[in-house]
């Protein structure tokens, strides 16, 4: 196990370097430069532009810029945002908890609903229930997030007034951000009603963000379950006269979960991508919107740093998923 971990960590280093190179080149390959964009219609005098380029280190050859950048990364310096003039890491750390909070809630919803639905569809294969679940999953999977989010806002916040329109907590509450996670901070604040307000603000964005992963998990669970239910050992269990819930819950599900866990791991990337739209619709101050704005502003260091941090997190999640395999299924314990 230790050697396996070491090997995996060793693999992470070239991957990480690859990501730095991709992030670095990607934003520079896009046409247009930050200074022209910053100047807008007014334009910028060539000499002034040259001076600013020099100040920002953008006048160096690209490979030299990359080496300087790489050197700084290893010192923990991800650069400074052109627009806010603040260190990229500070901005990321300020915004990331909001994204995590939303993503965790979304994945919990997706798992809690997706897996049971998938099992149900598999067990009742070919029935009306199966067809309804799979049909709904297909709709969920193809749902345009922006439209879906707005629809829910208009229905639940506008017409029914059950949930707030957007934001993380009612503006009435104003307390120190200790952890950056609103659910925790609202509890720590001790202010009456704050936690409930934070929960109410989380409902719609979580549902919207959970929609696609939920559909994917439900479909994946169904097909994995179907495969497992046809296996000999399940037939044996049936022949032994075990009650169906034990066969499904103990024998089938445990084996079917392996590909499902992989899917859930992969959904982390989807969640971060989906966060871009969800965060924009719900005015959720997370990293998704921050990154998109930075791309359109060609804020090089924010895009590079943000992509790097996100890639790092996804790599870490995948590592954890790999370890989880072993725990779920002893057959693939890592020796």
């Amino acid at each position: 196990m230790f050697r396996f971990l070491l090997g995996r960590l060793g693999l992470l280093i070239p991957t990480f370097l690859g990501v730095t190179l991709v992030a670095f080149s990607f934003i520079r390959l896009l046409p247009g430069d930050p200074l022209e964009l910053l100047a807008g219609e007014r334009g910028i005098a060539p000499e002034r532009k040259a001076e600013l380029m020099r100040q920002m280190g953008l006048d160096l050859p690209w490979w030299e810029q990359y080496l300087v950048y790489l050197g700084k990364i290893f010192q923990g310096d991800l650069g400074t945002s052109f627009s806010s003039k603040k260190p990229v890491l500070d901005e990321f750390l300020q915004l990331f908890p909001a994204t995590v909070e939303l993503a965790v809630c979304a994945i919990l919803i997706a798992v809690a609903i997706g897996i049971p639905l998938g099992i149900l569809a598999a067990v009742k294969r070919g029935s009306f229930i199966d067809q309804t679940v799979m049909g709904t999953a297909l709709i969920g999977y193809s749902m345009p997030i922006f439209w879906w989010g707005l629809l829910l806002i208009i229905l639940f916040s506008g017409i029914l007034q059950w949930t707030p329109v957007s934001g993380r907590i009612s503006l009435m509450y104003f307390f120190p951000q200790v952890t950056g996670f609103m659910l925790i901070d609202s509890l720590l604040s001790g202010e009456k009603g704050a936690f409930l307000s934070a929960v109410r603000h989380l409902i719609l964005p979580s549902i919207v963000l959970a929609t696609i992963p939920l559909a994917v998990i439900a479909r994946q669970t169904r097909s994995a379950m179907l495969e497992v239910l046809g296996e000999d050992y399940v037939r044996t269990a049936r022949a032994k006269g075990l009650p169906p819930h034990r066969i499904i819950g103990l024998h089938a599900l445990r084996n079917a979960l392996i590909p499902v866990i992989t899917t859930i791991g992969l959904q982390v990337g989807v969640l971060l991508a989906g966060a871009i739209l969800t965060e924009t619709i719900f005015s959720w101050p997370g990293i998704g919107k921050w990154l998109v704005d930075s791309i359109s502003r060609r804020d090089y260091f924010v895009v590079q740093g943000g992509l790097l941090l996100i890639a790092g997190i996804i790599m870490l999640v995948n590592l954890i998923v790999d370890i989880l395999y072993g725990l779920v299924n002893p057959r693939i314990r890592h020796n």
Partner: protein, 534 residues
């Protein structure tokens, strides 16, 4: 450190709001703003969103724009005199003006000449210790308005008198000083930050003299302000001001309807009719101080012939554009400056839409089988909500008079750069939003000879026009300047370097509970004097 300071700011905010809330009628005005400020030191930035959150709420300037107009009125300067040669502007500063007292700064003195000198010299002097106080600091507007070469020196005559000495006459100088970048920051606060080694906080925890003091900012989410109790302009009707950052227009409207905010900017054009019929909402509207245009390259054949340009202008059906692109929130443009700007020449008639006459004029000019490019911007701007659609309509119009059009577009930064090139082909869709309400800010910036190869996209340099605009720059008498600009507009219309397309109308929906809001023709959003009913 960051966490600690944020915590402190937040705690202060909590206590301020708590104090306000314990009062019998604590009023909080919530503004659903469209985006996040880049920082709070307005001089470093150019975006209106940043100005709303910084200079409009927190700061004052020596002179201000009278609310709802572009007229310059006293601000932190009670009065001023201009020397006969127009090179010296002497400002008499207002006495007893207090900077904000916050958790992170307690002023020991009133506003004085040192603050004025500090506010400008940090922008203009390369060797000033605050010139590069934060990484990548650049003074976009100060440089953009050519102030480094215009201001020779700023002299402290005494504590309450400051003299700006210029290198040349510049009539728009006063209007420049009313712009956001000219906000006055506290020199004493800067000293405190310098000693503490936290200079960057000038951009994160601002201190000004304006109607609201800064309480806290949670990135991309909420900005909080408290009314400045010692404000020289009088007490504010509300106790707290909150900016709830809401980037999506449809969501802003839902929040407004649900009562989660009281005022919102930039509604989607499609929603305006519904807002007007909502019993709980009111909507204010004003013509924007902007112009959207199609600039021919006047140095290249056949567009070097004014007759050809004029003929093409007559082929454009502006009514169709106003209907399809602006959806009613626009007004056809006749002159290169908007009608709300002083010196707008009302005598000038627009070239009538007449495809037949256009065709004939093109024939007379010897233009046959013309193929040209029309450049469509890739972004939405106030003066052009949908350039692609506009280009398609122009394409169809031009086809009717026998001119083939190829629509081209580039990424925005690239578009701006390429469209400036002197040898650029075809005609470019672009526009401009005024900075300071002075006609010079349109006519010289967009059509002056110095701007060829830059912001003069028509690459048009006309001696007569240039002489008029240059003369108007050095004359200080407004009536005389008005005449000169009126004449310049006549030359412009006759020579037709652009097809003037439209000026947009800006809408501002708000709750019916809100009173005292005045729309700013320059496009900013200020909540000074705004009240909200219980």
């Amino acid at each position: 450190m960051i966490i600690r300071t944020t915590l402190k700011a937040a705690l202060l905010g909590a206590s301020l709001i708590a104090i306000a809330a314990t009062g019998a009628q604590a009023k909080t005005l919530v503004y659903c703003s469209e985006g996040s400020p880049e920082g709070f030191d307005a001089a470093l930035y150019t975006s209106g969103t940043t100005f709303d959150a910084s200079s409009k709420a927190i700061y004052n300037r020596l002179v201000e724009f009278k609310p709802g107009t572009t007229e310059v009125i006293p601000g932190l300067a009670e009065s001023w005199t201009v020397s006969d040669d127009g090179l010296e502007y002497t400002f008499n500063l207002r006495k007893g003006v207090k900077f904000h007292k916050t958790d992170y700064f307690t002023p020991s003195r009133d506003f004085n000449a040192d603050d004025v000198i500090f506010s400008f010299e940090r922008q203009g002097k390369k060797d000033h210790s605050w010139n590069a106080y934060t990484e990548g600091a650049s003074w976009e507007y100060f440089d953009g308005m050519s102030l480094p070469t215009l201001i020779k020196e700023i002299v402290k005559v005494d504590d309450n008198t400051v003299k700006f000495v210029l290198t040349r006459q510049e009539a728009p100088m006063l209007a420049n000083l009313a712009m956001d970048f000219a906000s006055i920051v506290s020199a004493e606060y800067a000293d405190q930050l310098d000693k503490a080694g936290t200079k960057a906080n000038l951009n994160q925890q601002p201190v000004g003299t304006g109607p609201f003091s800064f309480v806290g900012y949670q990135k991309d989410a909420v900005i909080r302000y408290a009314a400045n109790q010692d404000y020289w302009g009088g007490k504010q009707p509300v106790d707290n001001l909150v900016f709830a950052i809401t980037p999506d227009a449809a969501v802003r409207l839902q929040k407004l309807k649900a009562g989660e905010c009281h005022v919102m900017p930039y509604p989607a054009p499609a929603d305006i009719a519904a807002i007007k019929t909502d019993p709980n909402l009111q909507i204010m509207e004003q013509q924007g101080l902007n112009v959207g245009y199609l600039a021919y390259n006047s140095t290249q054949a056949p567009f070097d012939n004014p007759k050809v340009r004029k003929a093409l202008n007559m082929a454009i059906n502006k009514d169709a554009i106003l209907y399809a692109v602006f959806q009613g929130s626009g007004q056809a443009a006749t002159n290169p400056i908007p009608p709300t700007m002083w010196s707008y020449n009302t005598q000038i008639k627009d070239d009538a839409y007449d495809p037949e006459a256009s065709k004939k004029m093109l024939e007379e000019a010897g233009v046959k089988d013309l193929s040209m490019k029309v450049w469509a911007m890739p972004v939405q701007r106030p003066y052009n909500p949908n350039a692609r659609r506009m280009a398609e309509l122009i394409q169809a119009d031009f086809e009717k008079v026998g001119v083939k059009v190829e629509i081209v577009s580039y990424e925005w930064g690239e578009y701006l750069k390429r469209s400036s090139a002197k040898d650029r082909d075809g005609a470019v869709l672009l526009g401009w939003t005024g900075d300071n309400g002075d006609p010079d800010n349109f006519l010289a910036v967009l059509l002056g000879c110095d701007a060829v190869g830059g912001s003069n996209r028509a690459q048009w340099c006309n001696d007569e026009f240039e002489a008029l605009v240059q003369k108007a720059k050095v004359v200080t008498d407004k009536a005389e300047r008005t005449k000169l600009y009126e004449q310049a507009q006549v030359v412009f219309k006759d020579q037709a370097p652009w097809a003037t397309i439209a000026h947009s109308v800006v809408f501002m929906p708000m709750s019916k509970k809100v009173s005292g809001y005045v729309m700013n023709p320059l496009g900013g959003h200020s909540f000074e004097g705004v009240d909200i009913a219980e």
